[in-house]
Symmetry: C2
Subunit: 328 residues, 2 copies
């Protein structure tokens, strides 16, 4: 028995639609259908699957797809940028486990009316990024499809001593994020550099307790860490590194730039927690490999996600929802 049984009953009685239960409802259902088995360190639910490898290392296995009209727009987006992005978001998942990417396969669904040139440019974008991270694209599949889609799967590795999961956050941990957040729709979602090198530097030089990549929005991805770790957190508004793009976007949307930094998806930065001691070392460092790392809040016991204007204890805290981008 597990959480999925109830979910199934509900599904049978009401036959809800995907847009009603949302992405997390479906993931809950899948976790129930495919529970982790003995010998499989982690199954569905972290950034990648974590599989047995050598006595000292895990194999990482992940997949992520992009679809025309949702993740990009054919005609508006350059084919190189689309190919690059599909690989980059998978690399970001390997980074979030503290791992090194090794091999990839790419499955493409293509309208037959597309010029061959599109495929060439798409793969040129994939190839350039794969070289940058010294990994190898080793296979693929081509299908005819009315809607263009690209689905990438990656194999990576991580030393057991360096593997970081979502579930390890402890009360008192400092929360850090790389780079800056919000407004990625204005360009960063295509051009971001997956934080593979930063992640490797971090796991080699610091003891990280939990990590995730910010793909669905800071609040939502921090929510994943909290849910897996059974903890709560407080964020300090003045500490959140708001991207310039979030400010530009805020002028159009009428929102506060901080709202964009908290809620926008596809930043693909690393969000991680460390002990007070490690946090102090990181605060002194300020950057890893040229990329800023910002202290943005603390892990606490209990439930929920809170925000206060600054870390002064006199500030009032406000509960915020762990919502961000949902696929349905």
């Amino acid at each position: 028995m597990n959480g999925w049984e109830g979910c199934l009953e509900e599904a049978m009685s009401r036959t809800p639609l995907l847009k009603e239960v949302g992405e997390e409802g479906v993931i809950r259902l899948l976790r129930g259908l495919f529970p982790a088995r003995a010998g499989i360190p982690l199954g569905i639910g972290d950034d990648t699957a974590v599989l047995p490898d050598t006595p000292k290392s895990y194999l990482l296995f992940t997949t992520d797809a992009s679809v025309d009209g949702v993740d990009f727009r054919l005609g508006e987006s350059k084919p190189e940028a689309i190919g690059r992005k599909v690989l980059a978001q998978n690399l970001s998942d390997i980074a979030a486990m503290g791992g090194t990417p090794l091999y990839g396969v790419m499955s493409l669904g293509l309208p037959a009316s597309l010029p061959v040139d599109f495929v060439k440019k798409f793969y040129a974008g994939v190839k350039k990024l794969s070289r940058k991270f010294k990994m190898q694209m080793v296979g693929g599949d081509l299908s005819r499809s009315k809607v263009l889609f690209a689905s990438c799967a990656l194999i990576g590795k991580v030393e057991k001593k360096f593997a970081i999961f979502r579930k390890g956050a402890r009360a008192g941990d400092f929360i850090f994020v790389t780079g800056s957040l919000g407004g990625s729709i204005l360009g960063k979602h295509f051009h971001f550099i997956p934080r593979v090198r930063e992640a490797r530097f971090l796991v080699r030089n610091f003891k990280l307790n939990a990590m995730i990549d910010v793909s669905d929005g800071l609040a939502r991805d921090l929510g994943h860490i909290l849910a897996e770790s059974g903890k709560s957190a407080v964020l300090y508004g003045n500490r959140v590194p708001v991207d310039q793009a979030a400010r530009v976007l805020a002028r159009k949307t009428g929102k506060n730039p901080l709202e964009h930094a908290l809620g926008d998806g596809e930043d693909f930065e690393l969000l991680f927690t460390v002990s007070l001691r490690e946090g102090k070392k990181l605060l002194a460092l300020k950057k890893v490999l040229g990329t800023p790392v910002s202290f943005i809040g603390k892990i606490e016991d209990g439930k929920g996600l809170f925000i206060q204007a600054s870390e002064r204890s006199s500030e009032k805290r406000k509960r915020i929802s762990c919502s961000g981008f949902s696929h349905f």
Copy 2:
């Protein structure tokens, strides 16, 4: 310099469409873009990628997608059958290398208006088949998409001594195929059992020289073996195991049932070549694990694929094209 450069020049001057160059044209282009690297036994072009693992084994890595309106029809096909098929065709690729499937990830593109029940049933089909082959689905990705698609990627393993490639066929080899061929569109393309166990039995008990799974049609897939091995072949019409479904279909299409057995895709049988000595042992056996194995022809030096009514040397042979199902 490689084959792709010419392809690129052609693409730049004429910007042909995918439907003009066909699937093999695109695969040629990809092989050029992602040539095998030192240390990577095989890249793009075999049934799966073959990667370094332990001193005695290779890691296998493959991906294959299915799309609504091409590989199945939403509304006409049962969700369980769709899920099952996507996994089964990937398992068939692992089988064709002589390997054992271990782990899978599934990327799904779903219209938001689908009932949750669809996803549940889709994964129930995936789960049932994954259990049958003692492998584990460990992750996935959900995207919104106007057109339903499912892309599966599998990791498998094969002992180096048992790994079988497309490129090993030798002049004089006997050509064998498992099961029967043709007319799979009438049902087998959903219900076929991937020949994982038969493949393992074969590689453990016989010395196979080349193998592929029949996904694009006997003539076309044999053509892949011939192209990779630099050989020609002759098929004996009276020896080709024509499926009953091919006869039923032939009554509708007005074709000869043998044409369906030669040309139809998605049989997912094993097509392999062995030496005369091994061939005689197999001829005596007739079945492996309850599945018929049929001797259907011979590998020869030279180029081309030929067919003659029977193996009597007095029969006239006719050149046939290596065409079958192309995705574009």
